[in-house]
């Protein structure tokens, strides 16, 4: 069930149409982020399945310039595929292009670059899908009478965050959400402490705030911590994107009714398979290419070389104990 298996030069046997012995390097936004640790776990499992060499490297802070330095290193090491979550959609383009000219393939996941700088983007969810689910969740949590809501984002420059926020605004313009009023967007910089203080600032400024959306794992946990310890607990609704382990306590004590996330391990797993397929020539990144991602099944490359993981999962008290990441 492999597509048109193109180049087959050298490498021995294949798994799912993927050559063995591929050098696949994961380059997260930063190495000290639990979210990427999970993604890495998935990636490593996948690379193991098709008998490649997995490595993970990256800067200790999420800055594009530091990432460039790692891209340079990886291209010098003749890595077959760089699987990167971009800190900036433009800033790392030059380095990626230079790497590609040396024969390295590039897969982006989680956060994309400009399409021409990479071969495939493994998207965790479409911006549309995320925006829709977030607005739906907050609307349910706030209740019928609506009210003021605010967004607690990551850094002001995060590409994916800003795309989602734009879509959320479009979504809010729809008549069914006319009672919800977005009053502020603040930035916690994906720093726990800063996010915490921003949440606190929001409530000091808008005492009648009804809900907070924090579409970032660091932000939602910080906001939950703040609400839990304040008099606003239960009065201010919270939703966003978070990991079940982080949010379990808050879901159970009612600080947060429901939130969403894709499974980062699956995201990494899929990205690794996409990388393998790309390096083996199974896919080239053009629309319609198909490949099999191990236990996740078959995926098709969509427009702009995007591969979509699927819809995010919504976690609430009923299902949260079934997940562990």
């Amino acid at each position: 069930e492999d597509g048109d298996s193109g180049s087959d030069g050298g490498g021995g046997e294949t798994t799912n149409g993927i050559k063995s012995g591929l050098k696949i390097a994961f380059l997260p936004k930063q190495v000290n982020n639990p979210y990427f640790t999970s993604a890495g776990t998935g990636g490593k499992a996948a690379v193991g399945e098709f008998k490649g060499t997995y490595s993970e490297t990256g800067p200790s802070e999420a800055s594009p310039s530091a990432q460039v330095s790692y891209i340079n290193t990886l291209s010098q090491q003749d890595t077959d595929v760089i699987v990167v979550s971009a800190n900036d959609k433009d800033a790392i383009c030059g380095a990626l292009t230079e790497a590609k000219s040396g024969g390295t393939k590039v897969v982006t996941f989680d956060s994309d670059t400009k399409p021409e700088c990479r071969d495939v983007f493994v998207n965790q969810a479409t911006a549309d899908g995320i925006a829709k689910s977030q607005i739906k969740l907050i609307s349910e949590a706030v209740g019928a009478e609506g009210g003021k809501i605010a967004i607690l984002s990551a850094t002001a420059n995060a590409t994916n965050q800003n795309a989602w926020i734009e879509k959320m605004k479009t979504e809010l313009a729809k008549p069914e959400y006319s009672k919800l009023q977005l009053v502020a967007t603040v930035y916690g910089d994906d720093n726990d402490q800063k996010s915490f203080q921003e949440a606190q600032g929001l409530l000091a400024k808008y005492p009648d705030l009804k809900g907070i959306i924090s579409p970032t794992t660091v932000g939602i946990a910080a906001a939950a911590r703040y609400l839990q310890g304040s008099t606003y607990k239960g009065k201010v609704a919270l939703t966003g994107l978070g990991t079940p382990n982080q949010m379990r306590a808050f879901v159970k004590d009612g600080t947060c009714k429901a939130f969403a996330l894709w499974n980062p391990e699956e995201l990494g797993y899929l990205a690794a398979y996409a990388a393998g397929a790309l390096a083996s020539g199974t896919i080239t990144g053009k629309q319609g290419d198909k490949f099999t991602a191990g236990k996740l099944g078959e995926y098709t490359v969509g427009a702009n070389g995007e591969v979509l993981l699927g819809d995010p999962t919504t976690f609430d008290a009923s299902n949260i104990d079934k997940f562990n990441f």
Partner: protein, 333 residues
């Protein structure tokens, strides 16, 4: 008392007064715009927000008074916070006081490393602590390797400490108050405390006066480390979620708080009270700006501008006092 004494005395009081005044002004303006700024919850948040910075600032002030600086406090805080979390993960039954002691001890060990290098190897503190800023953070990263410790991993009693209040005052803030009062009283009333000022004022003279300069500076760094360790524990209790990035970049805030609080960056003068006030002022600025409706993109710039304004104001005040001192010559024929 004689007239000059009054002037001199006022001089020392006035430094803290200036910052206090700025603080009152800021709170007043904000409260007029948004009365809720003075609600119980909001005041509690302000106090909580200042606590960690204030504890760090007290330690930093002690170091800066000796004409040194400790840039590693943010990294020490990170290590200690992660250690506290790990301790609870591995030994869930650990009593809270033990956790506090462990955090402080770890911080003290980090301070000891700084202190040994600075006092024994006699190298500039700025370079050494810039080095340990990297080194301790690197250790923290290596230890955590992308793990995160969540609220669920820590005992509820510990987390409750992070939000609980006594008579409306957060428990964490009480820690800061105790630290502040003890440090302030010590620096003022004990020989070794005064010697810290002497060392910062003129290190060479301190040596000639038989002051054990190395030992005192060493102690200052151990204390600063220990307080950073305590701040790490408080951080864990307050934020509940800890990854390896806790306290990242905090050193600049701390130094800013100390400087804004009127502690001379070249040592010898200033007080821990001023430093703590500086911490409260900075936190309040951070909290007041969103409340005042300042665009988030303007906030950072406003903080910078306020730091500049605070040190400039302090300078103007002290220059005025100095001029007065000069005119009233202490010694008259």
């Amino acid at each position: 008392m004689t007239a000059p004494t009054g002037v001199v005395h006022r001089f020392f009081v006035v430094r803290e007064l200036g910052i206090g005044l700025a603080l009152v002004l800021l709170v007043a303006v904000t409260a007029i715009v948004t009365p809720r700024f003075l609600s119980a919850q909001s005041i509690k948040d302000l106090l909580l927000g200042s606590t960690i910075l204030a504890v760090l600032a007290v330690g930093q002030a002690i170091v800066v008074i000796t004409r040194n600086v400790d840039l590693s406090v943010g990294s020490v805080l990170g290590l200690s916070a992660f250690a506290t979390g790990t301790l609870f993960v591995n030994a869930p039954g650990t009593p809270i006081p033990v956790a506090i002691l462990v955090g402080m001890a770890l911080g003290a060990v980090c301070g000891l490393v700084n202190g040994v290098l600075i006092a024994a190897a006699r190298v500039p503190a700025l370079v050494v602590t810039l080095g340990t800023l990297y080194a301790f953070r690197g250790l923290d990263y290596t230890w955590a390797t992308g793990r995160q410790i969540n609220a669920a991993d820590m005992p509820p009693a510990f987390l409750r400490m992070g939000t609980a209040t006594v008579l409306g005052i957060p428990v964490l803030a009480l820690f800061a108050v105790v630290v502040l009062v003890v440090a302030g009283y010590y620096l003022r009333t004990f020989r070794s405390g005064r010697e810290l000022y002497a060392i910062g004022s003129e290190p060479a003279a301190a040596r000639l006066s038989g002051i054990p300069v190395g030992k005192r500076v060493f102690t200052a760094f151990v204390v600063s480390g220990m307080l950073a360790g305590l701040a790490g524990v408080l951080h864990a209790a307050r934020f509940g979620t800890i990854d390896a990035n806790a306290g990242l970049g905090q050193e600049l805030d701390v130094v800013a708080a100390v400087v804004v609080g009127g502690v001379a960056i070249f040592g010898g003068s200033g007080s821990v009270y001023g430093a703590a006030l500086g911490a409260v002022l900075l936190t309040t600025i951070g909290a007041a700006l969103p409340v005042l409706g300042v665009n988030p993109f303007w906030q950072r710039a406003a903080v910078g501008a306020l730091i500049l304004a605070a040190i400039a104001l302090d300078k103007v005040l002290s220059a005025r006092i100095a001029a007065r001192l000069r005119v009233r010559r202490a010694r008259r024929a």
